[in-house]
């Protein structure tokens, strides 16, 4: 409680300092809008920001979910088939070395300037941590526990559900936390290159007009979306930890 109070006070102090910087020093409010101006910008265009914010939030959530499904599915497939792993892993890793932002314009060429392009790009940059988390988690199953399953004559499903999955979930959740921030990043980049809608588009558009207050207002909303999504994954993690009831193996991205 005391720690939370200290943190809140620190944030308030920083915002006040920022406000003071712009008001009392020769910093142009056109270059760095003060918090009061950002608040005012939020109030000035509520319906635009809400509309564009909802678009971004929707696509981020959908991109995140798809990234989780594809990442976990592909991870499970790669974990269970050594041949597939040998064939696919070099490609998956090579894809990670490519600076993915540089591929964004290609996605426009392939998928046009609509939602499919932004979604695909978000999934493209967000699925990898989930994939790695799934593979690491499934590989992290205690070998003794698997031997126990064999002794007891457990079938494949029982082994997966009762042993492998509980061992894998902490790593999977760690991957999902990273994926949550990556999905938002992917959607914003998608909005930059498609230039049709979304808060990323508002940022670009407002910046080109020198409306720094509006830029910062849009970024504030983006932060909000990111915090909510990350918070949801964190809640899932807390719920799992409560069920698990023991110290969990630390996640790779945790």
């Amino acid at each position: 409680m005391k720690a939370a109070l200290t943190s809140t006070l620190a944030v308030l102090a920083m915002l006040l300092g920022w406000e003071a910087l712009v008001r009392f020093l020769p910093v142009s409010p056109d270059l760095l809008a003060p918090p009061s101006a950002v608040l005012e910008a939020l109030g000035r265009h509520p319906e635009i920001l809400l509309d564009q914010g909802l678009s971004t939030a929707r696509e981020t959530a959908l991109g995140f979910l798809l990234a989780c499904v594809i990442g976990a599915g592909l991870g499970a497939a790669l974990s269970s088939a050594a041949l597939l792993r040998r064939v696919a892993m070099p490609w998956v890793l090579a894809l990670q070395i490519v600076p993915k932002m540089a591929l964004a314009p290609l996605f426009v060429v392939w998928l046009g300037v609509g939602a499919p392009c932004r979604l695909a790009f978000a999934v493209f940059i967000a699925f990898f941590p989930v994939l790695i988390g799934t593979i690491a988690g499934l590989a992290g199953t205690d070998s003794g526990a698997l031997r126990l399953c064999r002794v007891l004559g457990a079938n494949w499903w029982q082994t997966v559900l009762r042993v492998r999955l509980p061992y894998a979930v902490p790593q999977l959740l760690a991957g999902m936390k990273t994926a949550a921030t990556m999905a938002l990043l992917g959607v914003v980049i998608g909005e930059f290159v498609t230039a049709q809608q979304g808060l990323g588009y508002v940022v670009m558009f407002a910046a080109s007009l020198g409306e720094t207050a509006l830029v910062l207002a849009a970024i504030t909303l983006l932060c909000g979306i990111g915090v909510v999504l990350y918070g949801l994954v964190l809640l899932a993690e807390l719920a799992f930890a409560r069920w698990y009831g023991a110290p969990m193996p630390a996640g790779e991205f945790g």
Binding site: G144, L148, V151, G153, Y244, A246, P247
Partner: protein, 262 residues
Amino acid sequence: MPEAPTLIAEAIRFDAVGKTFPTRPVPLRAVESVSFAVRRGEFVAILGPSGCGKSTLLMMAAGLETATEGRLERGGVELVGPHRQTGVMFQDATLLPWLSVLDNVIFPATIRRIPRAKVLEVALRLIETVGLKGFENSRPHELSGGMRQRAAICRALVLDPDLILMDEPFSALDAITRDEMGDVLLDLWQHTQKSAIFVTHSIREAVLLADRVLVMSRRPATVAEELVVPFPRPRTPALADSAEFAAVVAHLRGVIARNMAA
């Protein structure tokens, strides 16, 4: 799977069993022409130095490894895989960290789809017998190493198997806890007619617990000597302090030393 007829007097039989692992460049010969049988209700200890292949022997008895030569019989029927009536204990307790002690003990029933209510009474009694009463709802990480191994004993016994296989179950414990666990096992076996194979490198454990001790040679493991332990049951931990006990231990130590020198 046909049930073993009860008139068969042997719980398990090794018949000229050998095991070679296809390692490279030289195949590893772990076990060579091992023949012995465990009678119903008999407690057999397999004594040998670390890495002599005695664990491989036990894994074959558990149906987790297949013999490359010879054959194993379980209750008169050839053994081809894990057997429903066999309980197994490993060096580590391997409890599932997210399950309570009770749920870990009941885990075999969960896998076999036996209703919880059917085994609950047995599980609770076992937990009490090994001295874990009051810890039913604790998670494994809250227990000491010895307590975890006690829970593992309960798990191996919960489905009332007629044969228990134990692979150096106390080797990860400190010396004091280890003696304590031997006493727990001795106590459990006063009230049971179960057969057991107990792999160990502790001569004291072997002599205190077993009806018969098989001394293994160096790798490839084969039965170098067999000793019928001359102490009647019921036995108490105090037996280990007697002069007769010390004499048997000394004899076995000599046998092992001769084996190592050979």
